[in-house]
């Protein structure tokens, strides 16, 4: 039985922070960072976090043809989960409408968590359980730090099983060590890290070859047979150095996407893997490694089935479609590192009735409406009584998922009155293909991006943050399927 990856998908937020905007803004304080002022790094919109990133990646990995009730396991690996208590993977499972009987868990603590989870999902698949591994990262850094420029935000998802395997897992290996190159206490949100040369030479350089050779030996694969070597690192050349030490060809070292995305922490090995899989040919061998509290590896062999799978949105396509952000203060504000004056409307109490959330969780997280079996009319939210003029039917609605439906904008406005992190606040009425209508927020939009008649698709995002009680709630928003023209970060057409 062939066990391995059956689907993959990545997600990179639309916004790309121009690194030179950061170095210029901080030049008075940290002129030494100027050398890092090239290219872009991905950044989350104000309404994105590790949960929404994970959902977006998983949706890209699961085309509509993939039955979701097959999954028995869900692992969410992240260095920046929004909730310390509340199963973050539980939110993802509900949004993806995975089966209630799923084993779902959050995995954190080491940057290599996602790669180490591969063996867990392989073992489950051997026992007949298909699983989903999602890794997401939305890290905070200190202003004017090298990390601020090196990092990026993003997510990747892999499905595992034994049916239509795209890349067989030949072996996995792990080396666990309390080698503290970085740490963060519970409740803190920014990592502290130690000197690069020590981490590279004493950590990566010593542990890497051991873990790599273990995986290669287990699978009886020679290092020179590796076609793609994935090793995320922000240390320039550390990946090539490790490859050389392990006997892997220099050409095999995979692009770490530093120029376009940045290092997406816990998600980065899987994100790079998605990039590699989008281009890989059958028969190629991929070595996936990530460092952090040791090192984890997985050795993969691409199968013929790779030709039959396409993520819903490829990573290459997403990288090409980024929107440059030149406002450093916007970046800081979105990361919660700059307190902006929100005015009186920002004082609104956003308490969530948890009992109400639970009662309606299919509608709120799964975005499930109701379709009247008599009239065919679609309602959101679902209701006991359907409305068809002159013929209100009672208890005739069946669950009707809307998340994958496209919509058209009926009416809209863009207002400057409310307290909103990305003004103007844009919302309007959306008509769904096949029925259903909703007043929805538009996200990832600037003035001029939408108009009546425009096509939109659904994305899962942060709806509100209750800062008084430290709670976040989520819902779906509409985003254009295409943008009118290229524009700069101020929303002006260029």
């Amino acid at each position: 039985m062939t066990i391995g990856i059956t689907g993959f998908g990545a997600y990179v937020p639309r916004l790309r922070l121009n690194r030179s905007a950061v170095t210029e803004a901080n030049a008075w304080f940290a002129p030494g960072l100027k050398g890092k002022g090239k290219g872009q790094r991905s950044m989350t919109n104000w309404d994105e976090d590790a949960i929404t990133l994970a959902v977006a990646a998983a949706r890209n990995a699961l085309p509509a043809s993939v039955a979701r009730d097959q999954f028995a396991r869900l692992v969410l690996a992240s260095d920046s989960l929004p909730f310390a208590e509340r199963l973050n993977a539980g939110v993802v499972a509900a949004v993806l409408r995975l089966p209630e009987a799923i084993y779902a868990n959050d995995l954190c603590g080491a940057q290599s968590a996602a790669v180490s989870a591969v063996s867990q999902l392989v073992n489950a698949a051997k026992a007949g359980e298909a699983g989903l591994l999602v890794a997401a990262s939305n890290r905070r850094t200190r202003a004017a730090s090298p990390a601020e420029l090196d990092y990026g935000d993003g997510a990747a998802a892999l499905s595992f099983g034994s049916d239509k395997v795209l890349a067989e897992v030949l072996a996995t290996s792990a080396l666990t060590a309390d080698f503290v190159d970085r740490f963060r206490l519970q409740g803190e949100d920014i990592d502290y890290y130690w000197e690069e040369r020590w981490v590279r030479d004493e950590g990566i350089g010593v542990m890497g070859p051991k873990a790599v050779s273990q995986a290669l030996n287990d699978a009886c694969v020679s290092p020179d047979a590796i076609d793609h070597f994935i090793f995320p690192t922000v240390f320039r050349g550390a990946d090539a150095q490790l490859a050389k030490k392990c006997g892997i060809a220099a050409e095999a070292v995979a692009d770490n996407l530093a120029a376009t995305v940045g290092d997406t922490g816990s998600a980065h090995a899987l994100l790079m893997l998605c990039s590699v899989l989008e281009q890989a040919s059958p028969g190629q061998t991929i070595l996936l490694c990530q460092f952090g509290s040791g090192i984890s590896c997985a050795l993969l062999k691409v199968t013929e089935a790779i030709a039959d799978f396409k993520p819903v949105k490829s990573l290459a396509e997403q990288i090409a479609a980024g929107k440059e952000e030149n406002s450093y203060t916007r970046y800081l504000a979105y990361k919660g590192q700059l307190k902006l004056e929100r005015g009186m409307r920002g004082e609104q109490d956003k308490k969530t009735a948890l009992s109400t959330s639970w009662r309606h969780h299919d509608a709120l997280l799964g975005f499930v409406g109701g379709r009247c079996t008599v009239s065919g009319d679609v309602h959101f939210p679902p209701s006991r009584i359907s409305y068809t003029p002159g013929a209100p039917s009672q208890d005739t609605q069946e669950p009707y998922p809307l998340a994958d439906k496209k919509g058209r904008i009926l009416s809209w406005s863009a207002e400057y009155l409310s307290s909103y992190m990305a003004p103007p606040h844009q919302y309007g009425q959306v008509d769904f293909e096949g029925g259903g209508r909703l007043l929805m927020e538009f996200t990832d939009v600037s003035p001029g991006d939408i108009d009546s008649g425009g096509e939109v698709e659904m994305v899962f995002r942060v709806k509100d943050v209750d800062e008084l009680r430290g709670y976040k709630r989520y819902f779906w928003k509409a985003t254009p399927t295409s943008y009118p023209a290229s524009e700069n970060s101020n929303g002006e057409q260029v």
């Binding site: 959101f380 207002e415 009155l417 009425q429 209508r437 007043l439 009546s452």
Partner: protein, 400 residues
């Protein structure tokens, strides 16, 4: 078929406070101001009131809940006070309740009073309302200007009107109301404005600018109603009576179906049709002398003219530009200045609209007095275009 309300109830007296930024006055002071004028106008004593209906929306920043605040403020003789709340249509609902009570014979004389003290909220606009525990979990935290601004996007798309023309038409709506409000001593905003000022004003919600939005103010208005025979016994002649009181409330069709195109008010079409039937009006453009329309935003007033059958569908923008609803036009609208100049103290607005009709029908509107006013239509709206409460009332001289 119901018998309807036509000519069964007359107005005995009315009062209206000065509207505006009433830093000097509490909601209780405003209530007393409107009440005193109404009682004096009616020529009765508090003991003659049988029951009252009290309209206020934002209890948290105004008077508090229930009927007690009004009973205490006016020191009423322990009669029934019922608080009525139906968003911005609350004032008209209080009137409807009082009128129905009198028509039923359960009361001889009833009072309806509305008040709101918006300037104590601290907002430069309406605060965000609470709508239960579920809706905020999925519905956008939308503000009124953006909800109503969507009428413009949908109207443009439906009728193929370019942005600039529509903006000019809705600007003209405000210019007209300011010209009228300038003549009204009880109005909040009393300066004339130009189309150019409207076009250059700061943007609030695309395409609405500052002058497309009504003011935020404090105010109260009151009406005392009775049966015509009692009014005559009390020495009143020249009576103004209710010809129709209709309310239509959205049932979710607008938001659940793809049939509504977003460019008009479904409820206004239903309520006005029923009101015309109740009042026996078959040709509204000929029979309605004047209107007070719920002009929370300029675009609201414009599309409402089509809903009330006073403009052809897709042509209200043209009628507005042609001056059809100006003081010297065929069917003057907001002759008192409207919400645009009075501002919109939520609970009071519906009764304030009735106040102007009452004055005009009795020939007491001073500088604003129109010639030959016989029938007036009041349109009072609560909620937003896709989910609302629409009240359409028609008043006129008794017996005509």
């Amino acid at each position: 078929m119901p018998q309807g309300i036509k000519d069964k109830v007359a107005i005995l007296g009315m009062g209206c406070s000065k509207f505006g930024e009433r830093w000097d006055a509490s909601p209780e002071d405003l209530m007393v101001e409107a009440y005193n004028e109404a009682m004096q106008d009616a020529g009765i004593t508090p003991e003659q009131l049988d029951a009252t209906w009290f309209s206020t929306h934002m209890e948290d920043v105004g008077t508090g809940r229930g009927g007690i605040p009004m009973s205490i403020a006016l020191r009423l003789p322990n009669i029934g006070v019922t608080r009525v709340e139906n968003f911005c249509a609350g004032g008209s609902e209080a009137v409807r309740a009082a009128v129905y009570a009198v028509a039923s014979g359960a009361c001889d004389i009833a009072l309806a009073l509305g008040v709101e003290k918006l300037k104590d909220t601290g907002y430069g606009g309406l605060p965000v309302a609470t709508v239960g525990t579920y809706i905020p979990q999925w519905y956008p935290a939308a503000v009124a200007p953006a909800n109503f601004a969507q009428l413009a996007a949908a109207y443009r798309a439906k009728h193929g009107i370019d942005k600039a023309t529509l903006k000019e038409a809705i600007s003209q709506v405000s210019v007209k109301s300011h010209a009228n409000g300038a003549k009204n001593p009880k109005a909040h905003l009393r300066k004339e404005i130009t189309v150019d000022q409207c076009l250059r004003a700061p943007k609030i919600a695309e395409p609405l600018g500052l002058f497309d939005c009504c003011g935020v103010s404090d105010g109260a208005a009151a009406v005392i109603v009775t049966r015509p025979e009692i009014a005559r016994e009390l020495g009143k002649t020249d009576l103004v009576s209710f010809k129709a009181l209709q309310v239509a409330v959205s049932n979710g069709w607008e938001m659940s179906s793809s049939e509504w195109d977003g460019s008009y008010f479904h409820t206004a079409r239903i309520a006005s049709k029923k009101a015309y039937e109740e009042a026996g009006i078959s040709k509204p453009r000929e029979e309605i002398s004047m209107t007070e329309v719920h002009d929370c935003f300029s675009v609201t007033e414009m599309v409402t003219m089509e809903d009330l059958q006073l403009s052809d569908e897709g042509k209200s923008w043209r009628d507005v530009l042609d001056g059809k609803f100006n003081a010297d036009g065929a069917i003057p609208c907001q002759i008192d200045g409207g919400l645009k100049c009075f501002g919109h103290p939520v609970g009071a607005s519906g009764i304030r609209m009735l106040y102007e009709m009452y004055l005009q029908l009795q020939g007491r509107a001073d500088q604003r007095q129109l010639a030959d006013v016989r029938t007036g239509l009041i349109h009072n709206l609560g909620g937003q275009p896709n989910q609302n409460i629409c009240s359409v009332s028609i008043v006129g001289r008794l017996g005509e």
